[in-house]
């Protein structure tokens, strides 16, 4: 029995051995070596262009198919289900009253119809509110062959189904293993190299080597995600002794920024694999890791940040002031802590292109591993990074105002909506102050009007 299996066995082994070597060599030449030296063959951009063409074809095909079958194609609107009117409380209430009485100057008295405004606004927010929809993934007009983001996949045509099937095979069969290999290589190299560099004495050589090592490993990780990043305005890149602030969409933001420049990271000490990476990184260059207990102590946090910033030999700190992941359609309130320190702030805007893969991490829905799996089985992550000119806090400006100024600049550059709401609202209750605002406005209509006349 065994004798005639034997030749097949060795043949199989040889075959596997050869293909594995070939594959790994290709990997090395086309991906790892360029990453080490920071050059690019342009393969990823070519890939991106061809993907776009395929997506457009798929969307057109779907629309045509739906029209033929007379089905209603459900187009998701990223603006929401309803059209909200931007009129203010005063305007609306006056309008209703005027329509009722027909008199030009409306009486500053209570009218039974006043409740309409509040009622309608209330029901509008039940149907569609600004905050909740920032924490679910953005919706797309065209289909990117990922079942996660389509509404109309009804076997509209065999050709589409075949294409979708091929897409799944390619993504899970080819791209995913490739990316996982790269990810392991990148992370492994990072840990090993930083530990080695950590053995050197502090000095010029150490910082130089640490910079090179960090950049190299991050670049490998970027390729592990097939991230195609366009950096704009690199002349504004953050310098030592400053703080870099950016909007937060996913944990990948860190990798994206760190593959183009060296930063000091700030974060909580984790256990497990993250902890190993953190401990290794801090040996090579000074990052700021806080124990869980220290995070609550705001003064301690501020002091450590200020000390780091004061030392001009240390790298700029990277902070995400929103405090949580937002779905990349808007920028939420910045926490003022990092803006109180009083050094130069370098704002950075990151905008992902949602057509290729949604980078938003909905931490209440998916865990980290699940998220990374999704990321690595998407087509690509395409994003743009804008380095904005540095900003300083002005003489009579308080931290909150400064934070809002920075936030507005980032929102404007990245084309995101600038929202007043606090990202913490994902988990906490609205402050009473907001309710009082509404009451104040209404009382002005009632009582304030009579004071004028």
């Amino acid at each position: 029995m065994e004798s005639y299996l034997f030749p097949f066995d060795s043949l199989l082994c040889m075959f596997l051995g050869i293909s594995f070597t070939v594959w790994f060599t290709l990997l090395l030449i086309f991906i790892i070596v360029p990453a080490v030296f920071g050059v690019s063959f342009g393969i990823r951009r070519l890939y991106m262009k061809s993907l776009l063409k395929i997506f457009e074809w798929a969307t057109l095909r779907m629309e045509r198919g739906a029209r033929e079958k007379n089905q209603q194609l459900y187009k998701p609107y990223s603006n929401g289900i309803i059209a909200k009117e931007p009129a203010s409380l005063e305007q609306e209430i006056q309008e209703v009253r005027r329509s009722g009485s027909g008199l030009p100057p409306p009486e500053p008295e209570f009218d039974m119809s006043d409740i309409f405004y509040f009622c309608r606004r209330g029901v509008e927010s039940i149907v569609d509110d600004e905050v909740t929809k920032r924490f679910t993934a953005e919706e797309l007009e065209s289909w990117n062959l990922l079942t996660r983001s389509n509404y109309n996949f009804h076997h509209i045509s065999t050709r589409l189904t075949v294409l979708w099937g091929a897409g799944v095979l390619i993504r899970y069969g080819i791209l995913l293993p490739l990316r996982v290999t790269l990810a392991f290589t990148g992370v492994g190299l990072l840990v090993v190299l930083t530990s080695i560099i950590g053995l050197l004495p502090n000095g010029w050589i150490k910082s130089f080597l640490s910079e090179k090592a960090h950049l190299m490993c991050y670049r490998i990780c970027v390729r592990a995600l097939t991230a195609i990043i366009t950096y704009h305005d690199s002349e504004n890149k953050p310098k030592n002794g400053g703080i870099c602030v950016a909007n937060h969409t996913s944990p990948i933001d860190v990798i994206i920024l760190a593959s183009d420049g060296c930063y000091a990271m700030v974060g909580q000490v984790h256990g497990g694999l993250m902890g190993v990476i953190q401990r290794a990184m801090v040996k090579a260059s000074p990052h700021i890791w806080f124990e869980r207990s220290e995070v609550k102590d705001r003064h301690l946090v501020a002091k450590r940040l200020s000390d780091h910033v004061a030392d001009k030999t240390k790298l700029p700190i990277l902070i995400f002031p929103e405090g949580t992941c937002i779905n990349n359609t808007s920028v939420m309130m910045f926490k003022k802590g990092s803006f109180e320190i009083g050094c130069t702030v370098y704002p950075v805007a990151i905008k992902y292109d949602p057509r290729f893969g949604d980078a938003f991490w909905n931490s209440s829905k998916f865990g980290m591993v699940n998220y990374l799996l999704h990321m690595m089985s998407s087509w690509a992550i395409v994003c743009s990074v804008w380095y904005l000119p540095p900003m300083r806090r002005e003489e009579d400006e308080d931290a909150v105002h400064f934070a809002n100024r920075v936030k507005a600049a980032i929102a404007r550059k990245g084309g995101l909506a600038d929202l007043l709401w606090d990202g913490g609202l994902k988990r906490e209750k609205v402050k009473k102050v907001f309710k009082e605002e509404q009451q104040k406005l209404y009382s002005k209509v009632l009582v304030g009007g009579s004071e004028d006349s």
Partner: protein, 194 residues
Amino acid sequence: MGSTNSTISNIPNAEVLIQETGFSPAHIVRLYDRYTTLDKDKKGHLCPQDFGAIKELATNPINDRIIGAFFSSGQEVLDFPSFVRILAHFRPDDKIRSKDPNSPEHINSRNNKLKFIFQLYDQDKDGKISRQELLQVLRAMLEKQVTEEQLESIAERAIQEADLDRDDAISFDEFRKSLEKVNIEHKMSIRFLR
């Protein structure tokens, strides 16, 4: 990542709902997605706490009344058809009306819209808005911004204007009469896109 995606076939009794409420299939699908998004714990139905979690609603002075309007008759659970039926009140008026006088009134008729508003005032559901109930609404909408005397005088004026049969309360008919000329169509309608 990946938005929720439903199709009209997933939604139970969709046909019936479309007939009853006048929403289009696309609207129903969209509302179903919203319903499931609000149902964070995936219970299959909504409870008052799910509404309480909507941040924008929390800034509305009459939010508890609005939530109460969804959970009428003391129930603690809201299923999808009821959710849609109540939202149907806010659909803009269709210009096409059936000529049949025996057909039941559309959910979003002027009368039904007024009834919805009436129950926001009339919390004990006795069919009348008493002075107390009016004061409660005013207090909710103004709270600390005016004094108790001012509140009472405002309520007094409002009742005097609307109360035609002098029983110190506003019945539904009196309520409707006082809003005769008001264009509630425009103010009580929400424009559902597509």
